[in-house]
Symmetry: T
Subunit: 70 residues, 12 copies
Amino acid sequence: MSSVARVTEISAISPESFEDAVRVGIQRATKTLRGVTSAWVKDFNVEIEDGNITGYRVNMEVTFVLEDGE
Amino acid sequence: MSSVARVTEISAISPESFEDAVRVGIQRATKTLRGVTSAWVKDFNVEIEDGNITGYRVNMEVTFVLEDGE
Amino acid sequence: MSSVARVTEISAISPESFEDAVRVGIQRATKTLRGVTSAWVKDFNVEIEDGNITGYRVNMEVTFVLEDGE
Amino acid sequence: MSSVARVTEISAISPESFEDAVRVGIQRATKTLRGVTSAWVKDFNVEIEDGNITGYRVNMEVTFVLEDGE
Amino acid sequence: MSSVARVTEISAISPESFEDAVRVGIQRATKTLRGVTSAWVKDFNVEIEDGNITGYRVNMEVTFVLEDGE
Amino acid sequence: MSSVARVTEISAISPESFEDAVRVGIQRATKTLRGVTSAWVKDFNVEIEDGNITGYRVNMEVTFVLEDGE
Amino acid sequence: MSSVARVTEISAISPESFEDAVRVGIQRATKTLRGVTSAWVKDFNVEIEDGNITGYRVNMEVTFVLEDGE
Amino acid sequence: MSSVARVTEISAISPESFEDAVRVGIQRATKTLRGVTSAWVKDFNVEIEDGNITGYRVNMEVTFVLEDGE
Amino acid sequence: MSSVARVTEISAISPESFEDAVRVGIQRATKTLRGVTSAWVKDFNVEIEDGNITGYRVNMEVTFVLEDGE
Amino acid sequence: MSSVARVTEISAISPESFEDAVRVGIQRATKTLRGVTSAWVKDFNVEIEDGNITGYRVNMEVTFVLEDGE
Amino acid sequence: MSSVARVTEISAISPESFEDAVRVGIQRATKTLRGVTSAWVKDFNVEIEDGNITGYRVNMEVTFVLEDGE
Amino acid sequence: MSSVARVTEISAISPESFEDAVRVGIQRATKTLRGVTSAWVKDFNVEIEDGNITGYRVNMEVTFVLEDGE
């Protein structure tokens, strides 16, 4: 059977860790998108102020399967 | 004259062939998007079960020209 | 504090220059998207007819911060 | 539950078509490897003699899940 | 023994399929170039009009061995 | 003194975290390979079900030094 | 209908600006090549002497459609 | 207003985790560089001895804004 | 004769244009570095506020020839 | 006729030169693998101690044709 | 002053060494092209028969400055 | 134990060979930098005059371990 998915890019930042940033981004994405099945984390960055890491940022390509009405 | 297009990523799978997967993805995309003009097939994958190819999957970047109201 | 942004790809063409194409694309993007903060110009092309450049085209990845309701 | 897979690169050539080359390579891989689940076709080449295409060659990264004894 | 080849880029489009586009490009290349031995298909695109695929386009790097007089 | 190593690609998934996936993959690799010295984590993915991350997956290129009999 | 184009790489330098370098390169290319339709500017460099920019250099991949006799 | 930053590459290793390696590298960088604002973690590696991970290594591109005297 | 150069990465931002950003970055670099001969502009970004482009940013790899004492 | 090859990655180090490292790696590979036909040298590194080059290291992707029993 | 160069890809093979292959390719290129100023060696391969290296092959992008009549 | 290294890019040219260029660059780097442990040769170029190779140029990323005072 055929199926079609879309891939969209999300950038998320967390003060805690890279994995928390992944979770924050996925939570936000699944709030408005149905059928999210996977994400590829393509970039990892940190933001720094006065010598301290203030944010962990990830860029992700999120895949979600399309249903018929979309 | 200026014009603006958007590029969106689609992943489509077909049990038949890579070109059928491209067609399946384009058909789905043109059902909801107007002005689709081209697509770049950036990745080709096959899914395999018990030694048989069960799916041909393509990832495509689909370009569609924006009209004024969009 | 956590925050999430989306990244979308825009292709814009101008008869004037690459920078005009960037402006044209950003204007169009900010008409429908709130919270646009930056864009990465990932490709520069020119279109040519009878030996003359008739269009300057750029492909951009535009980042816009998501608000809660989106 | 955790699981581990290996990825191995296969190059296959067919006189017929790219998709036949994919099938030839997958058949050969599944003869000696258990648990093959997918393959990414990373390169497409043709071989040419006297102006005719004599071979369609693909390079694939084949993924197979490891069982405990392997 | 030493030998030298040149590599040239060809873009070919066919209304039929990607493999027909490869054949069309190779036929055209071998009409004017002697010694063509292989081609790497580096990009696959489709052109679309009114929701239908109207062209399959490939970009290929074609290798041809140079003879002494060339 | 000369020495030779091999590089093999491993994909590992863990329900816990990316670093647990790295550990799971390295443990599995060192069960059958002697002389493992390093690994490059080349891709980070998450798998998602019903809005929850169910797996952290990494792809690694694992290097192991060959001994004479291998 | 099928058609075939060639892609050739041009490097052009101008003392004025990147866009002038693009124009200089396209003018030179269209003097000897018919059917030039587009160019992708793949690299931007500047040359510097005594702290001043003395040249803007671009590398472009120029596409030109082949006619039958070529 | 214009501003200029420099980007420098740092490689840091920690026995604990990738994020600890990021912190170790940023701490070291901010000891000698003022104005560090961000870092892109471009590579993740592990070092392994006797089947155990003994080091988590990251390569980072660190950006720091230049002040006038530098 | 042998010679050695160093390559360093600079990021510069200008409110005017990409080429002004290149000039700003080169001026800053040549204030502290002798022997700057060329730069490769590897990335072009714009920063946006309230729908307007407020900054043109370039990342450049700047090459400068080393003299004996350096 | 169809045929299938495998591609495996080898890293070899020699105190002499890059080409000696290539030879060392190929000799080692052909001791255990039949049908080796080519190798692509994808990375060149040197190892340094007290200011002297102590090792020339290459990473190679080695292709070997599979026979029926393998 | 403006100037324009072309870049063409050459593949050369020598039974001796990579540098001999570079020389063989450059000699062949300069026999038919005037104004060759540089070449970038983008790929290094070896060909192998019965466990011995029989050819060192390089792929090069050769730049040659165009004169007015060309 | 944690440790931090820096990576800096060096470009070196020699009239003799690529390996001599590597040595020239490493010698120069180790004159001013302590703790150099390795280098990755990322680009190989030749410079050509009147059909003869006049220079072998390499670009290298040189890694050196930082001591506490640096």
